[in-house]
């Protein structure tokens, strides 16, 4: 990131911040700006239209002459309705609980394994790591049949753990963390070892503190995936009280998906938490996804 705040500009037109081509205001820059604005508008409009619909009375939402400003004014009725009758708060809680647990478990077990692969010379390390790396190519989706069968056998269908456990395996994250641990200066660990620290101590008090940014990256990436996961929660949970937000909303829509303003109010409500989180932690999230994203999904 800190792309080396370069020395004073060597030539006119080179910005001090120094990323990308020169920054003089020319016709090219104006064109770039206009194109960017058009694209941003195109990308924002669908969501804004959903918000707009959610704020309308149903009469306006279902009116054939769609307009941004509704004839009967804006209202929060749809949001009230959705929150009052639906299970949205329960589903949001289920989503939060399971996503947090998935993230915590994934990061913990992946970091431990990655550290061992990077730094501990144990017998079998080579082939075991090779198997883990090869498994990055296995898309979880092709395992739904045997996984579901296994959940039936373990009696984990329709339980939180049945939802959570199959989602904590992230070989790509092990790969990313291992690459990071590879670069932690071994001298630091040696110094701690000379002081008499064992492996666990070294990992906990030397390596982990240095790894906070990469751990945050991985955690953010895993959390977004867990929060939005659809297929597995959809398969393994049938009990309305245990559903996550994406799955729960889907059942409501298919049950009575005709009240447009309420459907959009639900969509907006479901989107809101992550948008707020994104606005608060924009920089970390962008960095997290960019770092972990290359590990594949």
């Amino acid at each position: 990131m800190s792309a080396a705040a370069p020395a004073a500009p060597a030539a006119a037109g080179i910005d001090r911040r120094g990323r990308g081509p020169s920054r003089t205001v020319g016709p090219g820059r104006v064109v770039a700006f206009v194109v960017l604005v058009l694209m941003a508008v195109a990308w924002l409009l669908p969501f804004l239209w959903a918000v707009d619909t959610a704020l309308k009375t149903e009469e306006d939402a279902a009116s054939p002459d769609a307009s941004w400003i509704p004839a009967n004014g804006f209202t929060l009725d749809s949001f009230r309705e959705v929150l009052a009758v639906g299970n949205v708060p329960i589903w949001a809680w289920n989503s939060l609980l399971t996503s947090v647990l998935i993230t915590a478990i994934t990061v913990a077990i992946s970091a431990l394994a990655a550290y061992a692969f990077a730094r501990i010379d144990f017998k079998g390390r080579g082939w075991l790591y090779a198997v883990v790396i090869a498994s990055i190519m296995v898309p979880g989706q092709v395992l739904i049949i045997p996984l579901y069968y296994e959940m039936l056998a373990l009696r984990l269908v329709d339980t939180y753990w049945g939802l959570i456990l199959p989602q904590v395996i992230a070989p790509a994250m092990v790969f990313i963390l291992k690459k990071f641990f590879d670069q932690v200066p071994i001298e630091l660990e040696d110094a701690a070892r000379i002081d008499g620290a064992g492996r666990a101590r070294i990992f906990w008090s030397v390596v982990l503190p240095l790894s906070r940014p990469i751990l945050a990256s991985v955690a953010i990436f895993v959390f977004i995936g867990a929060w939005n996961n659809f297929l597995w929660p959809f398969l393994v949970i049938n009990d309305t009280a245990l559903m996550t937000l994406p799955v729960g909303l889907q059942t409501v829509i298919s049950a009575y998906g005709i009240v447009y303003s309420q459907v959009m109010a639900q969509a907006v409500l479901a989107a809101l938490p992550l948008i707020v989180v994104f606005l608060l932690f924009q920089r970390q999230i962008i960095k997290g996804v960019a770092t972990s994203g290359f590990g594949g999904t």
Binding site: A3, P6, A10, A11, G13, I14, G18, G20, P21, A32, F33, V35, M39, A40, W43, P46, F47, A62, P64, A66, I109, S110, L112, A113, A116, I120, V138, P139, Q141, L143, I144, I145, L147, Y148, E150, V168, I169, V174, E187, L188, D190, G198, R199, A200, F203, L245, P246, Q250, I253, Y260, A267, A271, L274, Q282, K287, V289, A290, G293, F294, G296
Partner: protein, 311 residues
């Protein structure tokens, strides 16, 4: 941090005695497995075992209820190869992958390059392009079903404004897949956009400065510095994107249910339907593995191309 580390090792006697990190210490043999154990338990339980057990299931006629389960040999695979519904959903998946991959790579590149010009409003551009990626498939499906609504939708309003006739986008076999592609590009482009943005920021600015001193214009700089530097990233994004597109399910299932008449049904949806609505677990497992084999072949081909272009 590296400076402190170096002072740590410049004490010759201690470092020489312990010679750390190079000799295998007996305690490490146990420690290594202990560190790996928690991951390994879940890895075996929820990835390795299902993968192996799934192969076995694919040779049986077991149902979702656990009934049946007799060994039927290759019968499921033989049926799969004769199953026109399977081929059709595979075809749909391939068609979607082709249609979606190109815009998802090209538009993301354009977005990232434009944003990286340092124009004002950085947070707004990032928010606009990346935010949809944070939305659940349920949310984006509802939004786009609403936009593509034949009577009330914004898509037809725009079409009519431009002088075209509105159409029933998602109900018409000719346009349903296009509608899915549009929704998907909108939804997931932010991911590729961020990967490109990160890659652009890793290009040393000195290169641009040098080119600028040599009198290279902006386009010249783009073609001779930016594009070559982005090649490895582009290959990687292509690889990830093809794999992601092949796994199409969520948005199709929720936007069209695979319709009209199976025109948008993806292979994963077919796996789901055979397994969970027709209850034919064994046959469903067999179809999964046909799909799995295809993914492996495609990944290997891509990896090979990638390696060649990297060298």
């Amino acid at each position: 941090m590296s400076t402190t580390a170096q002072t740590g090792t410049t004490e010759p006697p201690v470092a020489a005695i312990t010679d750390p990190g190079r000799t295998r210490r007996s305690s490490d043999r146990v420690a290594g497995w202990l560190f790996v154990a928690p991951f390994l338990v879940f890895f075996v339980m929820f990835l390795i075992w299902p993968m192996i057990h799934g192969i076995y299931l694919s040779f049986t006629d077991i149902s979702l209820t656990g009934a049946g389960g007799a060994f039927v040999g290759l019968e499921n695979y033989a049926e799969a190869f004769r199953d026109s519904d399977m081929w059709r959903s595979l075809g749909n998946t391939a068609w979607f992958t082709l249609l979606s991959t190109v815009p998802l790579v090209v538009i993301a590149l354009v977005m990232a390059v434009l944003v990286e010009q340092g124009l004002p409003g950085q947070w707004l551009w990032r928010l606009s392009f990346f935010m949809p990626f944070l939305l659940a498939s349920t949310v984006i499906s509802q939004i786009w079903v609403w936009i593509f609504n034949p009577q009330l939708g914004a898509a037809n309003a725009v079409m009519e404004m431009l002088g075209f006739e509105g159409r029933a986008w998602l109900q018409d076999p000719a346009t349903a897949m296009l509608g899915i592609v549009i929704a998907t590009v909108w939804w997931t482009i932010g991911f590729n956009f961020l990967l490109y943005l990160a890659a652009l920021q890793n290009i040393p600015s000195q290169q641009y400065e040098a080119a600028s001193i040599d009198g290279a214009g902006r386009f010249r700089q783009f073609w001779s510095i930016t594009m070559p530097q982005l090649l490895p990233t582009t290959v990687l994004i292509l690889l990830l994107q093809v794999l992601a597109s092949l796994k199409l399910f969520d948005q199709v299932y929720q936007m069209t249910g695979g319709g009209p008449g199976g025109a948008t049904r993806s292979i994963l949806q077919y796996v789901y339907e055979v397994g969970f609505t027709a209850f034919r677990f064994g046959y469903s497992a067999a179809i999964s593995y046909v799909f799995f084999a295809m993914i492996i072949v495609i990944s290997l081909v891509q990896l090979r191309v990638m390696r060649r272009s990297a060298s």
